[in-house]
């Protein structure tokens, strides 16, 4: 890397910086971080989950611990509070950590503890979305999609702004994380992303208007009475 302007070495102005560690802006940075963090976590005794590489599981001497890593956001839970604290202090000596305690806001999802469990809500995100697409003053509707007329690929109406269409679809797709009720509508409208027309745009706005009514809805994670795996199969 070039020497930073303003801090060029007086003796060796023609020298370049050989990077020993990743710096912001490099393409490898997220991967390098992931690798160095993973190496450390594995050395402590965690092992990677088979289904998700960013989930680390600790299972030794009756102590269970789970560590979720999303680039630089960590979520830790486990059976033994003492082990967790010990691990957290070890981590903060190795990496510069900020301990936030109980997660209130993880990946844009607000985690609200209730009497029955947890409520995952994205109302802040939805409000930002409504503001971004100038739909704050829109009239709300009760259903996400119009049921009487099926959406067709082309019914002769004028083409819509496909870039804006895809932008809204993308923003809505993140909401489906906690809003399974929107999954069908967004899936249906995503099928016209390549060539949206005004009818599709109207339907998309209807979804956003529905969101406005149901802005405070969220996914409720209830406390399960027992933890058992249930499997469902379907013969093909």
């Amino acid at each position: 890397m070039q020497q930073p302007r303003g801090f060029i070495h007086s003796e060796f102005p023609q020298h370049v910086c050989k990077l020993k560690k990743a710096i912001y802006g490099l393409r490898q940075t997220p991967r390098a971080w992931q690798y160095s963090f993973k190496a450390y976590v594995l050395s402590v005794g965690f092992c990677t989950s088979l289904s998700d590489p960013s989930l680390f599981i600790y299972n030794k001497q009756g102590v269970h611990a789970f560590l979720l890593v999303y680039v630089d956001d960590l979520l830790l839970t486990g059976s033994n509070a003492r082990f967790l604290h010990q691990f957290m202090t070890e981590l903060s000596t190795k990496f510069s950590l900020k301990q936030l305690g109980f997660p209130h806001y993880f990946l844009g999802i607000e985690i609200i503890p209730t009497k029955y469990g947890l409520l995952l809500s994205q109302h802040d995100y939805i409000r930002e979305l409504l503001e971004k697409f100038n739909m704050l003053g829109a009239k709300s509707v009760n259903t996400p999609l119009c049921m009487t007329t099926p959406v067709k690929l082309n019914d002769g109406s004028a083409a819509a702004d496909s870039k804006l269409f895809r932008s809204i679809i993308g923003a809505l797709q993140y909401i489906t994380l906690n809003r399974p009720d929107l999954s069908f509508a967004i899936n249906k409208l995503s099928q016209f992303k390549h060539q949206p027309i005004q009818v599709h745009f109207q339907q998309l706005k209807r979804v956003v208007r529905y969101l406005k009514l149901t802005i405070n809805h969220g996914l409720k994670l209830a406390k399960p009475p027992y933890l058992k795996l249930h499997a469902f199969t379907d013969a093909d």
């Binding site: 960013s54 997660p103 027992y226």
Partner: protein, 296 residues
Amino acid sequence: MHIFALNHCHIIYVSRHVNFVENSFPYQSIIKPFPTCPLIPQYDSTLHSIIHVKKGQNTNINEFSNSAPVFVVPTPSLLLQPESSSSPLSEPSLSPQHELSLSLQPDPSLSLQHEPTSVGIPVIKYNSPSSTINFVPDQVPSLESNNPVQRDPLVTRSQHNIFKPKKIFVVTKHDLQENLEPSTITQALKISHWIDACSAEFNALMNNGTWTLVPRLSHTNVVGCKWLFQIKRNSDGSVSQYKARLVAKGFTQTPGLDFKEIFAPVVKTQTIKVVLTLALGQGWSLHQMDVNNSFL
């Protein structure tokens, strides 16, 4: 193709089949240079040229259509403009040439041959040896004498005195205000708190052992770097921190050469829900942590 030919008998010949020999100019030596001819009639000043043809032999139409000389009369399109015809110069004069020229229908294909800048040199193309040519150079007025507003129907903003100052040189000489973020390191290094911020970032990188200085090798791609400046504010708008950050220009890296794989995994949403449910079901405590500087 319509070709209009004039001779001294005031006859117009129209021929549909014409061969243009454009690369040879066989009568260059015969054609005299065109002096300012005393025979210039008083005709429309907007007319650029009229070609007189003196033919040695009697020619008829058949000869013309086969091998007769072909004359391209540059017919000015200005003839069509109402203001030129209403100008006092274009009042009917007694000269026969003028009548002839007015009777010509301007052909767009012919007007292609005409260049306004080549004043006095009409374009002539011919292929027959049986004629001598005498030119009457046109009395084209210079562009300055003509009113360009009359000629050009386009209305520009400057005609209505609408001017917009050019924006390219609008640069302030004054020092940057305190509540603005500098965009370059040169700007930043004039202000003390930004110097402090830069030094703090530089020292942090040095303490971290981020790089070592090495002589530049010729075969290596040197990635550029850039300072970014940001003002961190409290919720009431007051400045809490002046932050400088050195970033590498990752877009100058070449895939396959400077880096091979850049994929970094992200969490599946199902995993988050499973972990949360598990913690809830077992009554475990949840902890969130945030890594301060992830460039490790």
